[in-house]
């Protein structure tokens, strides 16, 4: 118990680099403002809600009335009535709720058919969302990719193929009323049509282990014109060091922040701070103990080591606990340009 209560000396990792702003609530203040065409969800939700409130206050009213009116005043007071049943009344309170719930059932099933029947427009605009512990990779219809952020076109139906590389996850966009489990080895998909522009939360809704709550992505719904600029792929000026560092910082925020920090405290993976020491204009790599093929050895951090750690993280694992136990997924989909940005960013975090 005591051991459970004491906190690990690790500082909390950032939730995400930039979580989306809180969604505006709808006019009833119960659901986030609807950002897709699935208005039947809200319709049935509020219908059921009102029915529930009616029945709740009916029950509460009868209870309170009875308690006040028929309260036992003397210890031997008998009941005001000894009625044991009333068949017409029992039929009424069986049949009326039955009719109401059958309406709800039919309405809900009709809505569900809408949500599971993918229209043609959506199947021509297909993304792939790959869930892994604990990040989201997105692949656009044109083949380009982004991580933990995804851009969608407003008014254009979209379908997501959902894949998992490890355990169960769930694709949950509250503002779009969309949720679907992601099951390794099974084909799963969802579709929806975003109707308003803005930034929206995309959560993992199926428990997937340690950093389940940090498995977060942001959905940007933008106009077609803005989408065509591919905001997930901003131009990188390779000759400008400052541009490299800034892009490296952005990529870190999208892809690496779930497990790494830049402030010197450890997280799931080791911190990036102080991997190099700055001596004049030169960056000198630190000595580090790693495990390669089961053997412990000491290496010097350099560009090649960083590239290998991104593409084949299991090749050389940091020997220090707990990093030797944690497994990093491969980020082989990062191109050389972006890796160059990350290296520039890591070097900017060097100790003097």
């Amino acid at each position: 118990m005591i051991a459970l209560l004491t906190q690990d000396p690790q500082a909390p990792v950032n939730y995400v680099a930039n979580p989306a702003p809180a969604p505006v609530l709808d006019k009833w203040g119960q659901l986030p403002e609807l950002a897709s065409t699935f208005d039947h969800v809200d319709g049935l939700f509020y219908f059921t809600y009102i029915v529930c409130i009616f029945f709740f206050f009916l029950i509460l009213g009868v209870l309170l009335f009875s308690v006040v009116k028929y309260r036992r005043k003397t210890w031997d007071q008998p009941a005001a009535s000894n009625v044991t049943h009333n068949t017409p009344l029992e039929v009424v309170w069986t049949v009326i709720p039955l009719i109401i719930v059958m309406v709800m059932f039919a309405w809900g099933f009709k809505g569900c058919l809408d949500m599971t029947t993918v229209p043609h427009e959506a199947s021509r605009n297909t993304y792939v969302a790959t869930a892994k512990q604990w990040a989201w990779d997105f692949k656009y219809p044109n083949g380009s990719t982004s991580t933990n952020e995804v851009w969608l076109v407003v008014g254009k139906p979209v379908q997501f193929y959902l894949e998992s590389t490890d355990v169960l996850h769930a694709f949950f966009l509250p503002s779009m009323r969309v949720k679907r489990d992601i099951i390794p080895g099974r084909f799963q998909s969802v579709w929806f049509t975003p109707t308003i522009t803005g930034e929206f939360h995309l959560f993992c809704a199926e428990y997937c282990g340690k950093d389940h709550s940090r498995m977060y992505a942001q959905a940007h719904v933008v106009t077609q014109a803005e989408f065509d600029k591919e905001p997930w792929n901003p131009p990188i000026d390779e000759t400008n060091l400052q541009s490299l560092i800034e892009n490296g910082k952005r990529i870190f925020g999208q892809q690496c922040v779930t497990c790494h920090t830049v402030n010197g405290t450890g997280s799931v993976g080791p911190t990036w701070k102080g991997l190099f020491t700055k001596q004049g204009d030169q960056y000198v790599g630190r000595q580090r103990e790693v495990i390669e093929g089961g053997q412990k050895k000491t290496i010097t951090v350099d560009d090649a080591y960083i590239i290998e750690s991104i593409k084949q993280p299991d090749q050389k694992k940091v020997a220090e606990s707990p990093y030797d136990r944690n497994t990093m997924s491969s980020f082989a989909n990062l191109d050389d340009k972006r890796i160059k940005c990350l290296i520039a960013y890591i070097k900017s975090l060097a100790d003097n």
Binding site: F45, V67, R71, W75, S81, V83, G111, V167
Partner: protein, 551 residues
Amino acid sequence: MTTNVPVIDAHPTVPGLPKNYLNCSRGFMSWAGTLDHKRIGIMYLIGTLLTFLAGGVFALLVRLHLWEPHGMLFTNEKYNQIFTLHGAFMVFLFVIPAIPGALGNMVLPLMLGAKDVALPRLNLLSFYLWLSGAVLATLAIVLGGFDTGWTFYAPYSLYTNQAVVTIGLAIFLLGFSSIFTGLNFIVTTHKLRAAGLTWFRMPLFVWAIYATAILQVLATPVLGITVLLVAFERLYHIGIFDPRLGGDPVLFEHFFWFYSHPAVYIMVLPAFGIISETVSVHSRKPLFGYKLIAFSSLAIAIISFLVWGHHMFTSGQSTYAMFAFSFLTFFVAIPTAIKEFSWVATIWKGSIALNSPMLYTLAFLIIFAIGGLTGVILGALNVDLHLHDTYFVVAHFHYVMMGSIALAFFAGLHHWWPKMFGVIYDETLAKIACGIIFVGFNITFVPQFIMGSQGMPRRYATYVDEFHGYHQVSTIGAMILGSGVALMVYYLVASLLQRKPAMENQWGGVTLDWQTPTPPPLENFYAPPKVTHEVYDYSTLDLKTLQRPVS
């Protein structure tokens, strides 16, 4: 309503102090080796209350941690263990066994007019299986904990490097405890009813326990098999649920919920049974629609086997399966609604005593109305796709499990406490505690409904800032709820020390459990009881015994 004659006079005509089941023998072995259903019930009571308190402490740690969006107390890994412990302890060690194990054992044979359950040795074995399960579950914490959630979904539960096999074994043993208890109660109800106690003269608590027992016997083996398969898969890498080995994780979900949905009714039906008793006795009025309530218990028991898929609406099962599961889910709402209406109609024009068992009962009726109605919201297919795995679901099932089942358990505990021990607790404190628990509970879980409908996913160790306020209110509510429970434990324990004697028939019940001396003698009745009147016939109430304190 056939007669005005008191049923039986169970009191011995011989003078002197008759020994009761508590003081008829002494020593450790007279308890540890007892075959008396009442003593086994007391042992269950102590055990399940302890696990309830442990589960409650885990719940408070969860709520405290969520005071801050980044989490206040633990790393994510430890938080995941704590919420798993909370769920596993509450479900497997408290909610499922508590009412049948403690109150069912204590009251069922009394209500049937039997001198014990049909299979007393099996009964003791049930208790020891429960105890072994509890010890193993605790051992699993010592061995490093487990972080799978109480649902143990594959493939995560196959990969995680924690004590999953140990807790799986614990659940396996607890399952057998549950099966044996169910078997025992079925046989007892069939074979040991007193003369004149026809099926439709049985108190509704007996009906509820009977329906529960059927579920326990039929559903629990599936859970046992499932956890065994998980253990085999972890130990010997047989591909059943693991997609890497050719298995199917959705199969696990089907197996798990094939047990765990009926398990919801294994938990809630006994609670319904308690409420049927307390509502009638404390309103001094026959239960309204007795037969419909009895049949609705059986209807729930049957339909509950056919709705498990509503836990998996987002898992991509076929549209036809979703059609059937959603339809049946709405259908099972009807017998449940009938029960609620019947209880309310029983209170109508009753003679309502506002004592602590009745206050807990009223709290149950209000909270269960919310718990049941929000279940209807979740039954709708398209709405569930939005609300599934959010705090809305968490709030809904806490309204059912904690707000309804635990409160019904407390109602039953307060109702039969004088019967069990011959002492009465401090009524004033009991009423205050009930109020604190009711208020604290609602403050805890109403905000969870709101943030759930806004999209707060469950099982999150950290969360986005916009839910901060709701989480803080919820945490404050949990602290209030916790203090109410602490007060309850205090006055219950204090009543055993103060020994303020209870009345022979403290509340004026007319079922057989109130016709034996208080506390009952070793074999319950001095003479075999004979039932000559309909159940809940308060015109037969022997008012003289109401005022007679226990000797």
